[in-house]
């Protein structure tokens, strides 16, 4: 598996640290009434078989946080964006 970092170019997988599902969103409120949202955010995962957006840290490279779109069955990488761009896009959507 090789990942095309927007800053560093195509680099081998051992330079990266994976941090899981990028579709989960931290609830905005600390109100105990939002506990179900927190439960969902901390514990529950869609765990899709196929296309998957995940947070990846280029820990042995530029140390940028990225969002990689990858197939969980074939490990094929479809695209890489910075986590910042991913978040911006999500806010727009």
């Amino acid at each position: 598996m090789r990942i095309n970092c927007p800053h560093c170019g195509t680099r081998p997988v051992e330079e990266f640290t994976f941090n899981g599902d990028a579709s989960v969103q931290r609830p905005a409120s600390n109100d105990p009434k939002t506990m179900d949202q927190w439960f969902d955010y901390v514990y529950l995962r869609d765990n899709p078989k196929g296309r998957f957006d995940e947070y990846v840290h280029h820990s042995s490279g530029c140390r940028a946080w990225l969002v990689v779109t990858r197939d969980t069955q074939t490990h094929e990488v479809f695209g890489v964006v910075t986590a910042r761009d991913h978040a911006k896009k999500r806010v727009k959507a």
């Binding site: 081998p12 899981g20 529950l44 995962r45 765990n47 078989k49």
Partner: protein, 416 residues
């Protein structure tokens, strides 16, 4: 047919040409009392104990591929009950007790070998932690011995005792731990369940779960609809996919774990040894190959193969523990898909849907649990409530804050 010295002699006289198949290959019936999804170790054990202990034999086990093609045939065959927390250890000790009587119970040679599991420690705090865990084990009636460096040296003189960074300070030994021939576990349970009337249906993939008014009615499969009163999910690795068919979202991620076997060697390692400074565990099979493994690759995956950096990482840990391994050639490596739960502990429970039961989240410790998992899941299905041994493995424990987190690391899907 009961396997015995007499059946062996009889079949010898007929040139071993008249052994009957170990289980039938039935067509699915229109409906069953209980359907189990997943013909791996846990699913087959569940069917076996449903028939044997609870007298429920109108049962089908649906397997999408061939029997035992999943993780029951992909693990490193280790059994142990050296856990610490109260929710875990009585369960795993019950599993060990079932292993000890398993071959006589299901009349099949599963090569249960209690050759001892030794965890190495490399610092004083780690030894203290091992002493604590050993004491917790002994409170639950499990055997545990704390060994000093010399006692470890007597057992395994070829370990790297004076490693500059990770010197071996001792270890904790569970003599009753060991290894089991993994495929034979699937075959033995399949044969035992089949002879009690359970239908084991291979190449039958479930594509949908039908519920009527919040109650399970049956499953859609590639061989048509099959009705049932109760449905048990034992599809670890693919639990999220199967549970989603019933509209459930689980606290689980699927990850790939690799395992390895070396070329055949003369007898070298007679027990199971685990490295305490990295993640590495090794034993030697009866054919002579060293069977070993390490950590999961670390990214979500449903592929039954991993990447080379983890191969290198595992072998580095192995060579740090046993320098002589550097001269051993690896014969094969393979991968299996793990149900990584958010606290490193499994789930055996009812669900919010009437008649739907869940057995999932085994991380990479499911093999040793096979007998107790099947036994407890059968109890849960038959009585519609958990046994006290799996009472802590509730699905709602994450919401209620009763995680069983052996490592004390918090919610992360990389524990075991």
């Amino acid at each position: 047919m009961k396997y015995s010295v007499f059946s062996l002699l009889k079949s010898t006289l007929s040139g071993h040409k008249k052994w009957p198949p170990a289980w039938r290959d039935p067509q699915p019936k229109k409906d069953y009392d209980v359907i189990i999804i997943g013909g791996g170790g846990h699913g087959l054990a569940t069917a076996y104990y449903l028939a044997k202990v609870h007298g429920i034999s109108n049962v089908a086990v649906l397997e999408k591929s061939w029997l035992g093609s999943g993780n029951v045939g992909r693990n490193t065959t280790i059994i142990r009950s050296n856990y610490m927390l109260p929710g875990n250890n009585p369960f795993y000790e019950w599993s060990m007790k079932l292993w000890e009587g398993l071959e006589q119970d299901f009349n099949f040679n599963a090569m249960v070998s209690q050759r001892g599991v030794l965890n190495l420690c490399h610092s004083d705090p780690q030894r203290d932690a091992f002493a604590r865990r050993g004491n917790a084990m002994r409170i639950d009636g499990v055997d545990a011995e704390l060994l000093d460096t010399e006692a470890v040296r007597d057992m395994y003189p070829f370990l790297d005792f004076n490693n500059a960074r990770f010197p071996i300070k001792g270890g904790i030994l569970q003599r009753r731990g060991g290894t089991v021939r993994h495929d034979a576990v699937a075959w033995g349970y399949a044969r035992g369940a089949d002879s009690r009337g359970v239908d084991i249906i291979q190449n039958c993939e479930v594509t949908g779960i039908k519920t009527v008014k919040g109650k399970v009615a049956g499953v859609q499969t590639n061989r048509g609809f099959i009705g049932c009163k109760k449905l048990g999910l034992a599809a670890a690795g693919n639990s999220s996919e199967v549970a989603a068919m019933a509209g459930l979202k689980l606290p689980i991620e699927s990850h790939v774990l690799q395992a390895f076997v070396s070329e055949g060697l003369k007898p070298y390692i007679d027990g199971v040894v685990t490295f305490g400074a990295g993640h590495f565990y090794v034993s030697q099979s009866d054919k002579g190959g060293l069977v070993f493994g390490g950590d999961i690759d670390g990214y979500n995956s449903y592929a039954r193969r991993g990447n080379l950096p983890m191969v290198e990482h595992v072998i580095e840990a192995g060579v740090a523990m046993i320098p002589g391994l550097a001269r051993v050639r690896v014969l094969r490596s393979w991968g299996g898909v793990m149900d990584m739960s958010m606290d490193g502990s499994p789930i055996i429970d009812k669900t919010s849907i009437d008649g739907l039961y869940l057995n999932a989240g085994w991380c990479y410790g499911g093999f040793k649990a096979t007998p107790a998992s099947g036994w407890c899941f059968a109890h849960t299905i038959a009585n519609n409530e958990p046994h006290k041994l799996n009472a802590a493995y509730r699905l709602d424990r994450f919401r209620r804050g009763y995680m069983i987190d052996e490592k004390g690391q918090g919610a992360t899907p990389n524990l075991h």
